[in-house]
Subunit: 228 residues, 2 copies
Amino acid sequence: MSKLLLVDDDIELTNMLTEYLEREGFHVTAVHNGDAAVREALNGDYALVVLDVMMPGMSGIEALSRIRTHSKLPVLMLTARGDDIDRIIGLELGADDYVPKPCMPRELVARIRAILRRTSNDTTTTNHEPLQTGALTLYPEKRQTLWHGQPLELTSTEFNLLEVLARQAGQPVSKADLSTHGLGRPLTRYDRSIDVHMSSIRHKLGNLTDGRSCIQTVRGIGYQLIGE
Amino acid sequence: MSKLLLVDDDIELTNMLTEYLEREGFHVTAVHNGDAAVREALNGDYALVVLDVMMPGMSGIEALSRIRTHSKLPVLMLTARGDDIDRIIGLELGADDYVPKPCMPRELVARIRAILRRTSNDTTTTNHEPLQTGALTLYPEKRQTLWHGQPLELTSTEFNLLEVLARQAGQPVSKADLSTHGLGRPLTRYDRSIDVHMSSIRHKLGNLTDGRSCIQTVRGIGYQLIGE
DNA sequence: AACGCCGTGTAAAGATATGTAAAACACCCT
DNA sequence: AGGGTGTTTTACATATCTTTACACGGCGTT
C-alpha cells in the first residue's frame, strides 16, 4: 500500500492521524518541521505528502514551494478552516488539494484516495522507468528495446518514435506530436517521414498472433501502440 | 482553451460565473438541471464539469453518479459551506474536488486550473475499459472489435464511430456529436458521411436474431446502439 | 388515398490518406 | 573521394473516406 508523509508540528494530532491512516492501510511516516519534510519528501519513497500550512520555522507554503521546484509529488495541505488566502496560494503553487483543520479523518482519507487514484497511472512521475506494453519493453535510459524478451535493433529515430507511442500506449498519438517529439521538428505538409518510419518499425516488429500489427493506424490522426 | 460545463439551477449565479470564467479564458456552457447536465457531460466536448450539489429534480450527487458510470470526466462539486456529508459522499463517488458555496470566483478558477493541470497528461481521463453491449465488445486500447466473440475488421473511422455509439449505448447520439468525435470535424449541411459509414458498419455487423440491426436510426436526430 | 417534402439507405464515382519500395540526400568514417 | 548508415523524399499502389445520385419510406397535407 502507499507510503504517506505526514507533516505537522502538533505531535498529538500526528499520532492520532497516523494511527487512523495506518488502520486504513497506509504506511505513514510523520515529521514535525518543514526542513525534515522537504528532505523526506524528495527521497522518492512517498506516494503523497500531507502538509500542515501553519508550522513554526519553515511554513507549509514554503515547504510546498521547495518540494515543487524538485518534484511533482502530490501534496495535500491542511489549513485553518476558512483561511482562504492560504488555500488559494497553496493551489496556485501546485498543491493537489487542501483539507480544512480541524478535519474529520474520514474526509482526509477520502481525499487522499482521490488524489492517489488520479495520480496512480500518471506517466509524468515515472520518466526514466522502463516502458512496458505487451511483449515490448523500452529502456529509455539505455535506449534499448526488448521484443518478446529478445533484444531488437532499432535506429535512433525509430526508438524515439516508439518511445513516444509507448508513453501513450493505448491511445492515438497525432503525427504532429510524433514529429515534434520523435523527430524534433514540426510536421509539414506532404511530410511522409512518420509513415515511412512506422512502416519500417512495423516491419521489424512483425505481426501479433491475430495477424494485426502492434501499431494501429488511426486514420486522419496518427498511430497508436496497442495496450496490454 | 478548455471547455467547461457549468451546472446550477441558480440562473443569476451561473450568468455571473460564466462571465467571470470566460474572462479567464474558458469556454463555458451552462445548464440548469441534472438531466441536461448528464446529457451534455457525456457528449465528450468538455474538459471539466462544475456541478452544484443542491438542485431541484436530479441532485448533483445523482448526476455525478450517472456521469461516473459512463466516464471519468473531471467533476468539481459546489456544496453548501460546511456540508461535510455531501462533500464526503461526493469525493467517494469520484468527484475530483469541491468548493464551498458561496464561493470566491478566484478560488474556483484556481481549483479548476489545478484539476486541469493534473488531468492534462493523465491517461486515466480517457476511459480504457472495454465497452460491452450485447454481443459487441470494443477494446479502445487495442482498437479491436469482438462481435459474438469473433474478431471483426473495422476501418479506423468505423471503429471511432462505433466507439462513440457504444459509450452512450441505449441512448441516441446526434449526427453532430458523431461527426465531431468520430470523424473529428463538425457536421456540415448536406454531409452524408455519417449515414454512409453507418450503412457499412451495419453491413459488417449483420442483423440480430429478430432481423433488426444493432444500430437503430433515430429519425431527425442520429443513431443509437441498442443496449444490452 | 394521393401527393409532396424531407430524411435516410446505399451503390458507385471521386477525393484523400496511408503503405511501402526505391531514389535522393545527409552525415560520419577511413 | 568513396563507402556505409540512417533519414527524407518521391512515386505509385492500395485502402479508406466523402460526395453524388437516385431510390425508398415516413409523415403531414390535401
